[in-house]
Amino acid sequence: MQAIELLAIVVLLPFLAAPFAAWGARFNRFAAAWVAGGATLAALALFAALVYAYGDVMPVATSHAWIESAGLSFGFRLDGLSMMFAGLILVIGLLIVIYARYYLSPSDSMGRFFAYLLMFMGAMLGVVLAENLINLVIFWELTSLASFLLISYWQHRKEARYGARLALAITGAGGLALLGGVLILGHIVGSYELSDVLAAGDLIKNHDLYAPALILILLGVFTKSAQFPFHFWLPNAMAAPTPVSAYLHSATMVKAGIFLLARFFPALAGTDLWVGIVSTAGLITFLLGAYTALFRHDLKGLLAYSTISHLGLITLLFGFGTPLAAVAGIFHILNHATFKASLFMVAGIVDHETGTRDMRRLGGLIKFMPHTAALGIIAAMAMAGVPLFNGFLSKEMFFTESMRVAGSMGPVWLLPILVSLGGLLSVAYSLRFVHDTFFGKLDGDLPKTPHEPPGMMKRPVDLLVILSLAVGILPALVIGPLLHVAVTGVLQGEPPYYKLALWHGFNLPLLMSAVALGGGVVLYLLRRPVFRWHGRSLAHLDARVPYNRLMELLMRSGAGATALIDNGRLGRLVIVTLGFALGAGLLGYLLPQTLAPVRNAIEHASAADSGDWVTVFAIALIVLATLVTTVWHRQRLFALITMSVVGLGVAMLFARFSAPDLAMTQLSVEVVTMILLLLALFYLPQQSRALSSPARRWRDAGIATALGAGIAAFTYAIISRPFESISGYFLEQSVPGGGGHNVVNVILVDFRGYDTFGEITVLALAGLGIFAMLKGLSLPASRRDPFGRPWSDDPHPLLLRTFTQILLPLTLLFGIYVFLRGHNQPGGGFIAGLIVASALIAQYMANGIETAERKLRLPIHGILGAGLLIALGTGLTSMVFGVPFLTSAFTHLDLPVIGDIEIASAIAFDLGVFLVVVGSTMLILLNLGRLTDHAVDHPDYTAIESSHTDAGTRREADA
């Protein structure tokens, strides 16, 4: 194994640590923070080692086959871009962990918080390090889910729940669009591996499907990175705890979209369509965010809109589509991450120590928390783009790029003016953030008396602010190498020439910066009239309003559509379902191209079909029994008996048409079904009341006849035409491959053993479910039959007792015989299980449950469990021998006296089937029988029941 495979560990480590964080918090709430910090640190150390080892040979990628048919592999990639982002995610993640450890109050669950945070971190790492695009989309969706959990962390708050739902709806929808885009991309390139996609830029851009792929991918990008018109989820996500906002909205979640722009830059960028969509969305977002940020009173609200604005700026840069703009974009991603994380953490400290984030109440805090104020001021200056701070450098590059491309985007003066305006607005809101919080008058009655926070809460901010200054003053030294590597990763080639320096001489971009700075200060000084104007004109615009309307409409029409099909009544549901089936069948039948073959089959078949009058007569008898059951179904006991005639007739048909296994199964199932329904009938009314009007009965009869006729025609059309079976394989391989002559049984326990395993599990679950439902149930039961005659009092007739006693060993022996011969002759586990179960049930019926239990001492749950375990064990044993689950093996044994016998491992599996069938049948019938002990006998009960339901049904008919 190559060391680069360890990249997967970097991604998986946070996921693996998440449960430990949640679990550790049960013993000590700070244990969660230690686990989170330790895991992040370990992932960071491993990642650093990998970067050190492979830094020179980037890009490197690993890939393991996962679901090859879907183009899905499990692979990771290390190049400049993924290195930069993974580094950001881990480093800022570590700082956030430290900060959150002090931020969360004792009433907040630390375990839950850090578990979510770790899951989110792992998902983000997965996005940026993914090599396979589908893999990337999966991690992308995981970030949406994890951020949903983080935003809704304070679940008791309504706005937290709303914000989380909003974020999930928007980013989740974008994720779907992204999946679509990626699938198209994979279709164009013929591979989902990033290395292939990035190398196929020209192919993609000239393909007919380029436009849909680009638009779908951009939908994913814009929703995630809060670009106009999807920006409005981000401010609502501020309901999250501040460490979450600091993490999600500075370095991670919202940057995932930007990451994707950079990731696909070589493959998708540079076309007119790209420039048109991306730069327009970026520019609008840049200006709208900056404008709105100025008027937010909430510290975090201001930061949220400023984040939107800066994301717009970066998007705009990538939208220019030139390599130099990409350099500026990457540089600004780094800078924005540092100063925005600091600012969110400062806002959190202010909130934590004063109890409010409202800038109308805050002020003058510099006296109480000078250290925090210094941090806030420096970070805000970086955000405003003041010289000596990192934000200045990337903004200069941004202005320079805007000048360069201005000519190709509208009038040459338009773009420079608009971006200067954006810069001006960001100066104004940065000034407001600083001035309204740390200077000016303090509102006397703050919820808390402000003071400096614990030292460790400031350390992460200290570090980021120092970094921001260092980059701002000595850019080439501090950030130059990293930027170079990252840009190489974006462009997948040597970056163009650019110079990182504080001073570029007097030029137009510098003038734009000066205008922005000066204008921003002036705008802030004139804030009162500006605020008044805003309040009168634009303040009421809210993108959430149309969103909420849309959601409401969706919910209402959803509920309406559901009510149309499901009005809470079974009848409606059945009719809708069957009506649909009938309609689909009729449509298919009436279409001219299907009609001819069907007619053809019908005409041709009757000649080939020989008349077999005995069988036809038997079938006519079953038809008659069915008819009687249906017409006289209200006499329930009578209907049950006639229905058993139908069941026995079906068993005879199976026997007639070469299916001895089915005949035996049907016969024994018929026995247990009748016992079951007779038992159940004891607790139900003996007669059905006439609840439906004659009109309704005729309507139902019409539907039933139409469906029955349709099914009959359908069946006839199929069975009378020639066909080629796939069973040849099973018939040929049964003896050499499965070691058995009874092909039906070999299919069950060998070829399709996995299906059978699923089926016996269902059987066991049904038995257990019934056991659970019947526990502690008491039911009304009548002591008389429908005609007023009392049931027989003799509980355990002597004759029955004696006969079952004699029959028991015989039946058991017969069951074992049927089981053992099953692999070569008709029989097997299912049939033997049913036979044995009915023999045992007869004992219970003859002797009473308690006596029989004393005599037999059957551990029924044990039998059931043993059966499942044996079946599972047989399957697993084959895995021990290195062959797939449930592969069977067989051998011939030459025993003295008995002679040559064939032993197949499948017989062990069949034993499991046998035990499960015995266990669940007994479990069902015995527990139903046991209810007699709790039966309540009340003469009035039936009267009330019938009067009430009749009335209820009449009301229903009227309605």
């Binding site: 078949a605 069915t626 048409f657 039933a704 069973s727 009430h948």
Partner: protein, 123 residues
Amino acid sequence: MTNIALSLLIGMLTGAGVYLVLRAQTFPVVLGLTLMSYGVNLFLFAMGRLKTAAPAVVGAVEHPTDPLPQALVLTAIVIAFAMTAFVIVLALKARAALGNDHVDGVHIPQADRLLDRSEEPRA
């Protein structure tokens, strides 16, 4: 001739099952489901075509019948039994909880009193 008769039988079983499933009380619905499952099992079985005296046992006859639908139907029969049991027990549970055997779950408070469990929470 046999094909026509069997097709009609399957249609008849389905139709009768549908009619009973559309009744308003639980027991007939369970009867209907059972009839329908007879019909479905026969339908699946018939997909392998009807052959007499040709069981799918290797060496018994030269041209055995199709074993695959048989294997499917065999498990279907057993599962149908388990499902019938589950549904009928559900019906019993509903009667105990609601005081009647109507399929739409109409609750009768007086029945609770007669069973002397008015204190119990409604299921």
